[in-house]
């Protein structure tokens, strides 16, 4: 079915969107944070996700779950934001290096949750997304594969690689903690 741009941009009825928002906003919030969106940008990013969802809801055919569909939007929002931020940082150049916050400032308030979030940022985007959806959110591999437009074997491969990389990091963290 071919959709015109006007059809795709027609927002969802407020009631439908409101219900989806009430049900899934906390999940999208957590996902954005795990995908690397900083605390101070979470509200804006969450708003972007649901603005896109409102305009794309007609295209959702229910072959993946609403959660994983929203996660796909969240990935794209995070990706766009991080690219914009990278462009902005390059523009500022030396000034940003002199006066801007250190890259690790986001890790200021540490606890176990933040340790894992921080470790997730060390993974590449594919593995991070798969690990968050399957391991942390308990989504089925087959559903994640549909939502991310991949086959199940690819998801399993990413998941195994993510687990191994995170286990290495977690082991180091635990040894440092015990030392």
């Amino acid at each position: 079915m071919v959709r015109t741009e006007a059809q795709e941009l027609r927002p969802a009825p407020p009631d439908a969107l409101s219900q989806i928002y009430r049900e899934h906003a906390p999940f999208v919030w957590r996902s954005l944070r795990r995908l690397g969106v900083s605390e101070d940008a979470l509200e804006d990013a969450l708003q972007d996700v649901f603005l896109v969802a409102a305009r794309r809801l007609e295209t959702f055919e229910g072959r993946s779950s609403m959660k994983t569909w929203l996660f796909g939007i969240a990935m794209r929002v995070q990706r766009s934001r991080s690219r914009s931020r990278a462009r902005h940082d390059r523009k500022l150049g030396a000034l940003a290096r002199e006066a801007g916050p250190a890259p690790d400032d986001a890790y200021g308030r540490q606890d176990a949750q933040r340790v894992l979030t921080r470790m997730l940022q060390q993974l590449d985007e594919d593995k991070r997304a798969v690990f968050v959806l399957v391991e942390l959110e308990g989504e089925a591999v087959v559903d994640v594969a549909r939502a991310l437009d991949a086959n199940s074997n690819t998801i399993y491969t990413r998941l195994r690689a993510a687990r191994k990389a995170l286990q290495t990091m977690a082991q180091t963290w635990a040894e440092t903690e015990r030392a």
């Binding site: 969107l17 708003q47 929002v77 606890d111 590449d124 997304a129 087959v142 690819t154 399993y156 990389a165």
Partner: protein
């Protein structure tokens, strides 16, 4: 976190209680959404690349195969996105070797058509990968990876654990040199405070204060307290 369970499992367990947004934040965002929809302004512009690097477009697929092949040969191709940990440690099996008989919730079923992802536009056709000039030196090969940083920090932690502060100091300086903006900066600073306290360095108190101001909820607080207060 003093039990002997898998550390990753402990972190995942803690993550299960990751807080979501509070009520006022949800209300603020919802107001923004309503306002955005009512204004008729165009929505955010999104990235149109496939969600998984190797899953959607043939361009990314080709790049991934090149990366995997290069990782196997001990090379890193600039411009692609290798995972330094898994590539260096040889942890990641090539996609082609992924087991075909994976457990599937619906055994025997043919994968249904894929839900088209929330892409906003078709990605532009990727140009054929141009062969990389052989004469151009690859400067990324020697760059230390996260795996190197983790290994170094592990050695530092072991030196601290056995009370070898001289070796710990040497490794600390090496980390400062090789990873000035490394991912384990907090660990390095914590180690520095512990070494300073263990050596009764006169800057120990200042270092500790600075550390605690910057990382007030650090997971290294107990270790620092132990080193500095006996």
């Amino acid at each position: 976190m003093n039990d002997s369970r898998d550390p990753l499992a402990q972190l995942i367990e803690a993550d299960a209680t990751l807080p979501g947004p509070d009520g006022p934040a949800l209300d603020r965002v919802w107001s923004g959404i309503e306002h955005g929809l009512a204004s008729g302004a165009p929505g955010p512009t999104l990235d149109a690349q496939p969600l998984l690097a190797s899953a959607g477009g043939w361009g990314w697929g080709v790049l991934s195969i090149v990366v995997l092949a290069a990782a196997g040969a001990g090379l890193v191709v600039a411009g692609a996105r290798p995972d330094p940990i898994v590539a260096r440690a040889g942890l990641m099996a090539p996609i082609e070797q992924a087991p075909v008989t994976q457990q599937d919730p619906q055994p025997g079923a043919v994968d249904p058509p894929v839900e088209p992802g929330p892409s906003v536009a078709e990605p532009p056709p990727a140009p054929p990968a141009a062969p990389r000039p052989r004469s151009k030196p690859d400067t990324t090969v020697a760059k230390p990876s996260l795996a190197d940083e983790i290994a170094l920090m592990r050695s530092l932690g072991q030196a601290l654990a056995r009370g070898d502060h001289k070796q710990a100091s040497t490794l600390l300086r090496r980390h400062e040199r090789e990873f000035p903006k490394g991912a384990l900066l907090e660990e390095r600073r914590a180690a520095a405070v512990r070494i300073a306290c263990a050596r009764d360095d006169k800057t120990a108190a200042t270092q500790r204060s600075a550390f605690e101001a910057r990382w007030p909820k650090s997971m290294h607080a107990a270790a620092i307290r132990k080193a500095c207060e006996g």
